[in-house]
Amino acid sequence: MLGQGFVSAAAIAASVLFILSLGGLSNQEKAKRAVWYGIVGMAVAVFFTSFGPGIGGYWWLIPAMLIGAVVGVYVAGKVEMTEMPQLVAALHSFVGLAAVFVAWSADLERRRVLAAQAADGVMQEFSAFAALVATKAPDELTFLQLEVVFAIFIGAVTFTGSVVAFGKLAGKVDGKPRQLPGGHKLNAGAAALSLLLAILYLNGAGFWTLILLAALAFFIGYHLIMGIGGADMPVVVSMLNSYSGWAAAAIGFTLSNDLLIVTGALVGSSGAILSYIMCKAMNRNFINVILGGFGGTQGPAAEIEGEQIAIDAAGVASALNDADSVIIVPGYGMAVAQAQSAVSDLVRKLRASGKNVRFGIHPVAGRLPGHMNVLLAEAKVPYDIVLEMDEINDDFASTDVVIVIGSNDIVNPSAEEDPNSPIAGMPVLKVWEAKQVFVSKRGQGTGYSGIENPLFFKENTRMFYGDARDSLNALLPMVE
């Protein structure tokens, strides 16, 4: 058994390692080291806490860890890169559920200790967390109850929210925003009821209040995320990420564990900032995204004239052979069609013939921030030709050919041209300024936001219909 000094030292080391781990993600090369900092930090934290003072129950602990580790290795090894968003969402739900369980346990322990103390009035030997509770003064116990309420509420919202987000991202639940009749009033009612339960609990009501509280929070998490459209999922996932951090921090307060607090706060604030960055990239109000649906339009959207002109692979190939500069704009459609390696082959061929080929990535392309970068990296596209919107947006005007693969809203000119458009003001990739634009798309439908895209009707746009991977594979042999 290790002394308290060891555990504290380990906590400090782990905190520093976690901070280095997050900070190290500032570039690709450092990131590979940064993830090791995180792994070592976690190992140190778990090891020293497990063998710290007052820990028992190893017969339970070690098998649970082993099983969990095996499942974790299996899942991480099996998952496709395109399924990354749903995996992250699913993992968040675990953190939320664990937070609820731990908070419940904390209250059960508190009750047990109080009951024991009331029964015989003398100090009794308690093990584990109960021993800590026994030393607490009454006002500290009140705060402990408060922390338990927070942990349960946030944890429960994270749990069901993540499960729904997982369902939507995996396509198991319909991506359209859907709410029960009553809408946000239902959420507000549930929240008010939760508050009432919390007050009851603080005033000494039984354990049932906490169960009911969790149930209400489960409902809020479910209903809140059901009401958010699939296109906003990147923000939702990062927001849930943030919640899982806050839940961990709340547990840290309950258990008086600084390492939990530090780590939870790190995760919580990083998730919050990431959500903010993404909302800014979409020119959306954070509150608006969370409450679901696009803001009301101020007038009829501009009518689109003209027709979509289709083109076949041979036409695209000849334009590519003539082009000197090519920019590829991938979107969620590329992920769905698993077309990233076909894209990579195309890029390799084009680059081999001396063309300047680059990628333009919109901050919210895909279903996770940076989703496209990960997919392209998987297909071995060098990351130094993968550029962000701000880096590449001015270059479209001097580009010969732009290939849009499965993206829609992020290349929609009405964001700039039509003040009545629901996405007006959102920064978009100005692909239409290029000499020629090819859009690889399954059919004539609208994008996730359900908005008509005038790009498809522009004179310099040609529609290359079909599954992205099949289209690109058809294209490949024709490109010199």
Binding site: M42, V46, M65, L97, E109, F253, L255, A265
Partner: protein, 523 residues
């Protein structure tokens, strides 16, 4: 209907309004084509090629004017030709109705319909029959070639074993179609080209052709869209500024090509005598506005004059005619497009639809009436270009002031936030137990660190970031570990489940992040 092209009577005119190629297209519309013998000779089309294309060659002009229902020409008709016109006959030519009022009266008196190719409105639909543009394009090209012919040096700069050759400096005044064509030709020959125009919105077009736009800083600049894409007369103050700009350029440039024209007015004098005097000997001025009096003081129409200081001033008015083959091909195509619009059913019957913006605009006499000037077209010529906002360079003082203001505002906000935060902490400290406050300090600092660290994370690594934070959020496992040794059965079960799922999260999260990061590679 019979469409006939007579031989041009104007002196030096080598172009022809019908080519064998356009004749074939016209026959597809159901028309029959006539051409006067020898009409295309000067443009390189002999009578046999016309015959091969199915055109009947008519011996005399008189016979042609008599037989044809539609006469197509390049130049406006001479007095004699105007008297050949008869009722119901249509004449298509460059007519210049504003300058040729007497001729217009004659045609009206003859009862003929006259379509002036120079009056085709400048709307996108009519571009295919905009003969002025196609001729101006040729003139601009030829102007550079003509300049090269009179200029004793290379256009392009070269460094050779025999010495260094500086590139020729070309100034193009007026960036209409001719000006832009001249810019394009001169830059592709390797010259350094500068260009000026009174319409600031063409600066983009000038720069796109590879020339430098000479920008005049002037409040009251013109909006070309008001006048259908053409320039209009400028104020005296503007003129002064403009001339000062040219005076500055004069000693520096080797070739000046002036193309400044204002519709319906004599050409503005822009290159004055003193500017010619300031130029280097051997320099060349090509005045494309010579026909309308010239932009240069020394210009004599149709002549090449040499100034006292050895500057060559070329005032030819027949640049398109000097490239007669090319000019005829383009002009005949413009005419052919006009006839296509006049023959909507493709059945060889001309329907003169006065409701059509293009046809209405170009028609100057019709059924015994003078229909000039036309009403303004229903479609605006070109979209009103948004004036390019020139960012005003802030002075150093202004810059400093704004910087100071933002600094102050930021300080105010930050101090405000800190004060509010501090007050809240104080309040919390009053009610919360000391042990809570200790943890709370840690919490706030950690939030702050997270806040600072994440801003630096590269955008492309946001997904790995999320996976890492997700893995790290599995730290919740510590909570479960701390509880698992409890004496209560329920707690043990709950804690065990928590440990299990948190472990999945930690292990899965880290492994998947490693997988992702391993894929990122540099080219």
């Amino acid at each position: 209907m019979k469409i006939g092209a007579p031989k041009e009577t104007a002196q030096g005119e080598a172009r022809v309004a019908l080519t064998p190629e356009s004749a074939k297209q016209l026959q597809k519309l159901g028309h029959e084509c006539l051409v006067e013998a020898g009409a295309g000779a000067a443009a390189g089309f002999n009578d046999d090629t016309y015959r091969d294309a199915g055109v009947s060659v008519v011996e005399s002009a008189e016979a042609l004017w008599r037989d044809a229902d539609v006469v197509i020409k390049v130049r406006e008709p001479s007095e004699t030709e105007a008297h050949y016109l008869r009722e119901g006959q249509t004449l298509i030519a460059f007519f210049w109705p504003a300058q040729n009022e007497a001729l217009l009266e004659t045609c009206k008196a003859q009862g003929a319909t006259v379509i002036a190719m120079d009056m085709v409105p400048r709307i996108s639909r009519a571009q295919k029959m905009d003969a002025l543009s196609s001729m101006a394009n040729i003139a601009g090209y030829r102007a550079v070639i003509e300049a090269g012919n009179n200029f004793g040096r290379f256009f392009t700069g070269q460094v050779t074993a025999a010495g260094k050759v500086p590139p020729a400096k070309v100034l193009v005044i007026g960036a209409g179609v001719a000006g832009l064509a001249a810019i394009g030709t001169a830059t592709s020959l390797g010259a350094v080209v500068r260009a000026f125009d009174v319409r600031p919105e063409v600066s983009e077009q000038i720069e796109s052709m590879g020339a430098e736009f000479l920008f005049l800083d002037f409040e009251d600049s013109q909006d070309g869209s008001e006048s259908g894409g053409y320039a209009s007369p400028s104020s005296p103050e503007f003129r002064e500024k403009q001339l000062a700009c040219f005076r500055e350029q004069a000693p520096d440039v080797d070739i000046v090509i002036t193309t400044a024209l204002i519709p319906g007015r004599p050409a503005p004098k822009l290159w004055l005598e003193d500017m010619v005097a300031a130029m280097k000997p051997g320099s060349v001025i090509i005045d494309l506005a010579a026909e309308k009096g010239g932009n240069c003081d020394l210009t004599k129409p149709d002549e090449r004059v040499v100034s006292d200081n050895g500057v060559v001033v070329v005032g030819y008015t027949d640049f398109p005619s000097r490239m007669a083959t090319q000019a005829s091909l383009l002009y005949a195509t413009n005419i052919r497009h006009m006839l296509t619009d006049l023959t909507p059913e493709k059945d060889g019957v001309i329907q003169h639809n006065m409701e059509d913006d293009v046809i209405r605009g170009a028609t100057v006499t019709h059924q015994g009436d003078i229909t000039f000037p036309p009403p303004p077209p229903k479609v605006k010529a070109i979209a009103a270009a948004k004036p390019k906002k020139k960012e005003k360079e802030p002075t150093p003082e202004e810059k400093k002031a704004t910087e100071l203001a933002t600094f102050k505002a930021q300080t105010k906000r930050q101090v405000g936030l800190l004060a509010v935060g501090g007050a809240l902490m104080l309040l919390l400290g009053q009610i919360a137990p000391a042990s809570f406050m200790q943890h709370f300090i840690v919490f706030v600092l950690a939030c702050f660190i997270g806040f600072q660290v994440i801003w630096k994370v590269s955008h492309s690594l946001h997904t790995p970031l999320m996976a890492v934070t997700n893995a790290i959020s599995g730290i919740i496992i510590l909570g479960a570990i701390l509880q698992i040794g409890s004496g209560s059965g329920v707690v043990i079960v709950l804690a065990t489940i928590s440990v299990l799922i948190a472990t999945i999260n930690v292990v899965g999260g880290f492994l998947v992040t490693r997988r992702m990061l391993a894929m990122f590679q540099k080219s």
